[in-house]
Structure formats: structure tokens, C-alpha cells
Amino acid sequence: MDREREFSLEALRSGNREAFAEMVDAYSPQLYRLALRMLGNPQEAEDVLQETFINAFRHLIDFEGRSQLSTWLYRIAANQALMRLRKSEPDLVSVDEPVQMDDGGSMPRQLKDWCCLPEADFMTSEAQAQLDNAIGELSSALRAAFVLRDLQGLSTRETSEILEISESAVKTRLLRARLELREKLSGYFAGYVEAIEHD
């Protein structure tokens, strides 16, 4: 992943438009994917992408380079997306407590093996819509951790800097997110396996 491309902070801070255009081109694909996965809506993702770079342009002068440029941009984009999500989300119960066996949301209940399905069955539009629905049902806190760690491929440390939470909270949220997604997908794919077995 080409996240660590070097940009001249001096050129960016001095308002060099060409350098800014190069930075936009370098980071817009992953920031768009982040926003799309967080919000599940292409128009909102596009709005977040534009807001991210408008904010970045305004605040580049304050960027001291203590974190990487990519981490700083991710933080702006994630915050924009989370602000939109939190407007429509009720207050959350804590998602940072360790996962327990009696934990309703994360506790595995679906234990049918569906890994054996042919790859083509995972690629149907219905199956892909199941993936979209499942991620859309995660709380914003869990979704952010999953998108940054698993889909954007960022490290636990980078994710903790972006979300401004501890590394241990990132790990707990990631595990909860993965377990919830597995549970939701199992509800669909296990039923699919059973239907095939009964045919």
C-alpha cells in the first residue's frame, strides 16, 4: 500500500497547489473507500472526501508532522464520517470491555461450517449485499475499527492514533466487530449450506 509516499510539508504548508493536487491524488482512493465503508452511501462518501481535503487545506499550516501525513488525513476523514454517523446513532453501551462468553452481541451462536461453499456463491449480488448489510449494522465505533484495521490495512497503533483510543481498545473493538460480522454472515451462509444439503 502506497501510504507512506513522501510529500514536501514545506511545499504543502506554503500553499503550493501542485503539491496539494498530488497529495489529493495519492490519498483520495483510500479515503473514499474508508468513507464509503463507514457510511454505506456513495453520495455521503463523496461529501466526506471533499470535506476532508477542504479541512486539510485549511489546517495544513497547523500540521506539525508528529504523525504521518496519511494518519492525519485518515483522522480527518474518520472524524467527518463518525460525526455523520453519530447524528443518527443512539448513545452506545461500552464496546471496550473485554469480550465475554455471556456477551450477547459478540458471543458465537451460529456454528455451521459454511467455508466449504464454492467461491462463486460468495460473489453473487445477494451475497455481496449481505456483506454490505452486515457491516452497516455494526455500531460506528466497531465499524471504524474494522474498516481501518481490516480493510485499510492500518496497524493497531495507527488505528489508535486515528480514533484517539488506546491500542487495547482497538483490539477489543476489532474482535467484537469481526465476531458480530461472522455471526451475521453465518446466519445467511449457513442457511445457504442447509438449503443445498436438503436439495
Binding site: R17, P98, D150
Partner: protein, 82 residues
């Protein structure tokens, strides 16, 4: 000697295990447990598959050309659109 873990204890280390970041001793405990517990083996396999399905889906997501064009115009960078 490998210590035995129960299903609940395994849960905490699952992410590190499927990411290949768990310590060797933890991996050995999980693998020993999975050899005897079919439910946990299915859980680990389907958890891995879940993550891999999302990663595959992600790899097919591109920035649409129209989004890039509108972004450059909104930032007054259209001079550098090619």
C-alpha cells in the same frame, strides 16, 4: 506442556491468532483446543473467511472517475486533472 483452554478463554486471543500475531504458546493452546472442539474450529474458520470476504470486496472498490473530477473541481485543482 500445553495448557488447556476453554472456549471462552480462546475468544480473547482470536484476533491475534488469525492475524498471525499471537505468541507461539498461545497458538499451540488454541490449536490443541481446536483439535478437540469442533465448534471452535468452525468458529475460527468462519471468522477467517469473514475477514477474507470483506478484504476481497474491498480490493474491487475503485475511486470513480466522476468522484475524482468533482473533487478536483471542488478544491479548485482542475488545472491538474489529467
Amino acid at each position: 506442556m500445553i495448557e488447556h483452554v476453554n472456549c471462552g478463554e480462546m475468544l480473547h486471543s482470536l484476533s491475534d491468532y488469525i492475524d498471525g500475531e499471537a505468541q507461539e504458546a498461545i497458538c499451540a493452546m488454541i490449536e490443541s483446543h481446536m483439535a478437540e472442539c469442533q465448534d471452535c474450529r468452525i468458529m475460527v474458520d468462519t471468522l477467517r473467511k469473514t475477514v477474507s470476504l470483506y478484504r476481497e470486496q474491498e480490493s474491487r472498490l475503485d475511486l470513480p472517475q466522476g468522484v475524482r473530477t468533482r473533487l478536483f473541481y471542488s478544491l479548485d485543482l482542475n488545472e491538474w486533472l489529467d
